[in-house]
């Protein structure tokens, strides 16, 4: 259980940040850079008033840049072990060519945080689930390692932990263990504290600014405004899974 003192401190900090964000919104309406204001306090349940999502601009995503991948690996301490075939890949870079036109573009692929996730549909124990705010996660306590979710995911977004994770590589941001399935958590540990996912932060830090994170249900959020203004699509939109990750320029 968490320390009550720390909780109070966190709540204080949250109030301060929340007030700051509210002030920012008042001073410069519509120019909010962070979604801090919509982060929920730790003592309140996740709500479906938010739906967290990503907008990825493939015209800004640089070919050969893998800052997002590096940031993810660092955030969760995903270390290579026995080769790329079995190593965890929570996010990967993909270069695509349109065979009809010859146009190429680059994009990051990760768990698409579907509204109707096939992984959660097929999971026998309910270990794969979607939080009310749209983040798709694996409950490592009840995952039996059957890998049916990996068969069902149309994006190959999930990895099976093929080996023992050395004690020194274990990381507080996500529990990981041999024999369970895992995937991008949309940095839920950060999102719950009002921060951006590590990949988005890295992409912005690199100056590419190809990724926007935010609340798809908040019409005032940057992501919602961008989605309303410019055309975008979801990968395998034909499957009607309504992923929370949108792409521009595909």
């Amino acid at each position: 259980m968490s320390d009550p003192k720390k909780e109070t401190m966190d709540q204080g900090r949250r109030r301060f940040l929340g007030a700051g964000a509210a002030a920012a919104a008042t001073i410069a309406p519509g120019v909010t850079l962070m979604q801090v204001a919509s982060a929920k306090p730790d003592d309140q349940p996740v709500s479906d008033k938010n739906r967290w999502g990503l907008l990825i601009d493939t015209t800004k995503c640089a070919s050969g840049c893998d800052a997002c991948v590096q940031a993810c690996n660092e955030e969760f301490n995903l270390q290579p072990q026995h080769g790329p075939r079995t190593d965890p890949h929570w996010i990967r870079k993909v270069e695509v060519r349109d065979t009809a036109t010859g146009r190429t573009f680059s994009l990051p692929m990760m768990c698409q945080h579907c509204e109707n996730p096939p992984c959660a549909d097929v999971c026998p124990t309910g270990a794969s689930f979607r939080r009310d705010d749209g983040i798709v996660l694996v409950d490592r306590h009840i995952c039996i390692g059957c890998r049916y979710c990996m068969m069902a995911c149309p994006y190959k977004a999930r990895s099976f932990v093929h080996e023992e994770i050395p004690e020194e590589d274990k990381n507080v941001n996500a529990p990981r263990g041999k024999g369970c399935v895992e995937a991008c958590t949309l940095c839920v540990h950060r999102v719950d504290k009002g921060r951006q996912p590590a990949c988005v932060e890295a992409c912005n830090g690199d100056g590419h600014k190809a990724m926007i994170f935010g609340d798809l249900k908040d019409p005032g959020s940057e992501i919602s405004r961008e989605l309303k203004k410019y055309p975008s699509t979801q990968i395998r939109a034909d499957l009607r899974l309504n992923p929370g990750v949108f792409y521009k320029g595909i």
């Binding site: 079995t86 068969m151 069902a152 149309p154 190959k156 099976f160 093929h162």
Partner: protein, 402 residues
């Protein structure tokens, strides 16, 4: 027709030798499972592309065959065919044994087999896998009751009801097994409603082939008479089932060939350069279907040895079918961008197909599952009165003209 007398087998030297050999396979299988669990799945041929490997080929084959093995009993009870009735006890026991063998493999290949209790206590009722857990346990229960009504006169009045229930349950069970693949929307090789009935017909074929081999071995090794006419009935039925399964395979591929979006997948399986194309044509179609059909419906089909060869080939074809379905289905990369091509990827999206080489421990685990199924049958025929003392035609068929 005389009254059928069921007796347990004597079980002398050969019996214990057989137990010993099967026991060794089981021990080896357990050792392989321990090795894979202890080290993690990286020591197997499986990876994040091919997440289900050879153990699943064995497990799904055994589970599919299990429901099919019950057919012989069902034909007697549900369809009232008298010559099949004396075979019903063995049919029921073989069905449960094959299911247990398959489930053992499936369980021991889990990432966390120690969490079996979680699988039994947490249910996501939208999951076809969760339904299957209920279908498997239900199958064992219903078939056990069915067997009880066959063996205990005091509950004989429930025999028909139990037989019908087990028959309907087994149809649902195989529908569930086929739907494990049929319900996968994201993969080209699956996502087809036909997979459920196709698996049902395949189960008829695989289950009967195993039943025939077990029956012939049991009667040969114990020196009990096994009638010619009865065997001819069974082998003709096997031919019908093999042809039926092949028909479903043809319809499955024809439907895909008609739809442009599936052309790449069909080209990969039917004309590709991967091992799956060879396994499909040589294993599933030629050796697993056409050759057995040729044997069963030619003069050779009158010989016991050839019937045994045909049955063994159907089983081989069954493994080939499961290989193509399970491994081949995963081998074809996911279509992430229809109409576009992935030029490069940090995670094998840019390959023509994913490769998979099964490791030795996976094979040993699979064979261990087969041994579990067989040892259960061998022990059952020793301790229970399952086998009629004689299956000579005059003893089992009221219409037999000697």
């Amino acid at each position: 027709m005389k009254k059928v007398r069921y007796t347990s087998i004597d079980g002398r030297g050969g019996f214990y030798a057989l137990l010993g050999v099967l026991g060794l396979f089981i021990l080896a299988g357990l050792g392989a499972a321990y090795y894979m669990e202890h080290n993690g799945h990286w020591v197997t041929g499986m990876d994040n592309q091919t997440v289900w490997g050879l153990p699943h080929v064995f497990a799904v084959f055994l589970i599919v065959a299990a429901s099919g093995a019950l057919n012989v009993a069902s034909i007697g009870t549900v369809f009232g065919k008298a010559p099949y009735k004396p075979l019903a006890r063995l049919s029921a026991v073989l069905a449960v044994a094959l299911l247990v063998g398959g489930l053992v493999v499936l369980l021991l290949d889990l990432g966390r087999p120690d969490r079996l209790i979680v699988a039994m206590t947490y249910y996501n009722f939208k999951s076809i896998f969760a339904w299957n857990i209920i279908l498997y346990t239900g199958f064992m229960g219903f078939v056990a009751i069915y067997l009880w009504t066959m063996m205990d006169r005091t509950v004989r009045k429930y025999y028909k009801l139990a037989g019908f229930t087990a028959f309907i349950w087994r149809l649902i069970l195989t529908t569930g097994t086929g739907s494990i693949f049929g319900f996968l929307v994201g993969r080209q090789g699956y996502d087809a409603a036909i997979m459920a009935p196709m698996f049902v017909v395949m189960s008829f074929s695989f289950g009967l082939a195993i039943f025939l081999l077990v029956l012939m071995a049991a009667y040969d090794w114990t020196g009990r008479p096994l009638g010619e006419a009865l065997l001819m009935r069974l082998k003709n039925l096997l031919g019908v089932f093999v042809a039926g399964a092949l028909y479903f395979v043809i319809v499955f591929h024809l439907t895909n060939l008609y739809a442009t979006e599936h052309h790449d997948w069909e080209k990969f399986i039917l004309m590709g350069e991967s091992v799956h194309t060879k396994v499909f044509w040589l294993g599933q179609v030629l050796l697993g279907s056409l050759v057995p059909l040729g044997i069963l419906y030619s003069k050779a089909g009158r010989s016991r040895a050839w019937i045994a060869v045909a049955s063994a080939l159907v089983i081989l074809g069954g493994f080939a079918t499961m290989w193509v379905t399970i491994i081949g289905g995963q081998s074809f990369p996911l279509v992430l961008f229809p109409g576009m091509e992935v030029v490069s990827s940090g995670y094998f999206d840019d390959v023509a197909y994913h490769t998979y080489s099964p490791s030795f421990p996976e094979l040993v685990l699979g064979l261990g599952g087969v041994a579990v199924a067989l040892i259960a049958v061998v022990v059952a025929v020793k301790v229970l009165n399952l086998l009629p003392s004689s299956l000579a035609d005059a003893d089992v068929d009221p219409h037999h003209k000697g």
